[in-house]
Symmetry: C2
Subunit: 340 residues, 2 copies
Amino acid sequence: MKITIQDVAKKAEVSVATVSRVLNGNYPVKAETKEKVQKVIKELNFIPNIQARELTRQKSTAIGVVLPSINNMFFPEVVTSIETALKAKGYSLILCCSNNDREEEVRCINDLLARNVAGVIVLDPNTSNINSDFYKSIAKTVPIVFINGHASVENISSVSNDESIGAEIALKYLINNNHKNILFIRGENSASYDIKEKKYISMLTNSNHYHPSNVINIGKGNGSETVDNTIVSVTNFLTKNRKITAIFACNDLMAVGAINACKRLGLNVPEDISVIGFDNTELSKIVEPKLTTIDQNMSLLGENAAELLLEKITYNNEFSKKIILNNKLVIRETVNQQGD
Amino acid sequence: MKITIQDVAKKAEVSVATVSRVLNGNYPVKAETKEKVQKVIKELNFIPNIQARELTRQKSTAIGVVLPSINNMFFPEVVTSIETALKAKGYSLILCCSNNDREEEVRCINDLLARNVAGVIVLDPNTSNINSDFYKSIAKTVPIVFINGHASVENISSVSNDESIGAEIALKYLINNNHKNILFIRGENSASYDIKEKKYISMLTNSNHYHPSNVINIGKGNGSETVDNTIVSVTNFLTKNRKITAIFACNDLMAVGAINACKRLGLNVPEDISVIGFDNTELSKIVEPKLTTIDQNMSLLGENAAELLLEKITYNNEFSKKIILNNKLVIRETVNQQGD
DNA sequence: CTGAAAGCGCTTACAG
DNA sequence: CTGAAAGCGCTTACAG
């Protein structure tokens, strides 16, 4: 039922080779012939089959993107910028969601490879997959770029943020504003939380204000769960400990949870207590007061990942590069500039 | 460099036909042969090329999804449920973003067709594309499902919400709680806002409380822009008009903007003023107080769209169906139950 | 149970 | 400037 190049050739009374040439414009075709063929293409509403083209040309214009979840304020922004950058170069995106599951991630990649993608971008790759040989063997045959994957794997390019510096900037900002007793809020095991906690411990130890009990872990959860879990944990914490003047949250959702907890306890942010988040998701600009946070450069992550992948594709997967972006502080309304 | 079925056949000392049979398990193969082939497949890490398979089989296991933007609290949730439903049936998703642009939408669809998708799901299809003959002609050759597209086009299935009923439920809830003077907030031209405004006008006219000046349009914008624009408009409005006891917002972002404006003016929500949103995005569960809103059934929209598409694919694009979901009220914390 | 061969829709040397 | 033919990686009647 679908129109093929054969149908066009027949109707235009030329060979399929000629139709192919006018389609691709890569060989001389007599003007008259060209017009005739183009007319038929229009008439028949012919769309060339890219699958067949790619099979012949032995190259692909599809890119795989695997991400832990779409349903999150962080990933959609990154995906948007990947899509924009790649579409401009004629690539399409095949999306696969791993649901934070290690094996599903492997399945996604295998499916993408089977679909003959020219390369794949993985957001937040699973640590155990990185450490196993999975990525090492895959990376030999197809260009791979990690976003926020601490890629010790050779032959994989990556873009990430220096979250350690980001945490340092955030904590310095609090400390410079005279905050000494700072609550640290994190979630369950994640390399990213570990990095921030490490920085927190070293800085607070330096200032003689490190107390292990000022680190709380709100457990796991997504979206509004994170907020709710944080509200519970922070409420518990603050009813017992009022020495805290500032809160460092490992992401914006936790920061919003902390702010909400304060409100319920009748504490004003930032007058009574300051809060700083991490990520600079859209949410940080939506809540009231607007959240002071650390910018995770989401669109830069996406753009750079797209570029690195294109580079790998162009140079036959031969060179790898790591790009580390510096996080920067976004001052809005939730940190009291005088401290206490 | 890539391993093909040829390589496997050679190493296993069988024909490619036999390899294909053990791959697909659709023909009898001697146990011994099967094992030998499977062993080689493992050794060589062979992944069959789906593009080639689909070219031969003349069918596709890729589905196109086109959406106006990924960067939005509504679409990612819908896409997630589409992905989940479709992955379970062995399909993959090719994503294309139209950036709210009519022509880009057409380009997306054409690209997807060229990539030989088995069908396409369009979120919020552009009205002018629906009215032109574009979709009509496309729908003849490939299964198409609209989400929230008021599809008058024959041969296209669709899932949508009855937003008119949704608006009615929301307004009735306000009115039953004794709210009479209700502010209506909408954005720039969209069929969806028009439907809600129409309902608003008819219901408020009925109760003799319709005043055209109580309808405000905050212009266009996405994400935090919407919130900011709403804050400005509502602040302006409320400084001049304090008779309002409730606000109906056409989406959750506008509702949050309205709440933020109230806070800045020293008005408590819901004690001084009630706010109801629309959509039930994750945001409505994140803000404080939690937003009372109308559920847009985002995951149901996705699931149903996936099902309708699968149905069309199975039955050769021969049957179409429209599903209209009923919105329901989600009572949380922003509407004062006594009114005023 | 297995292999040889045709064919899916395209592109591209090759020959003219 | 144009056509015939090989080939991309697979599947599936057909024959044995």
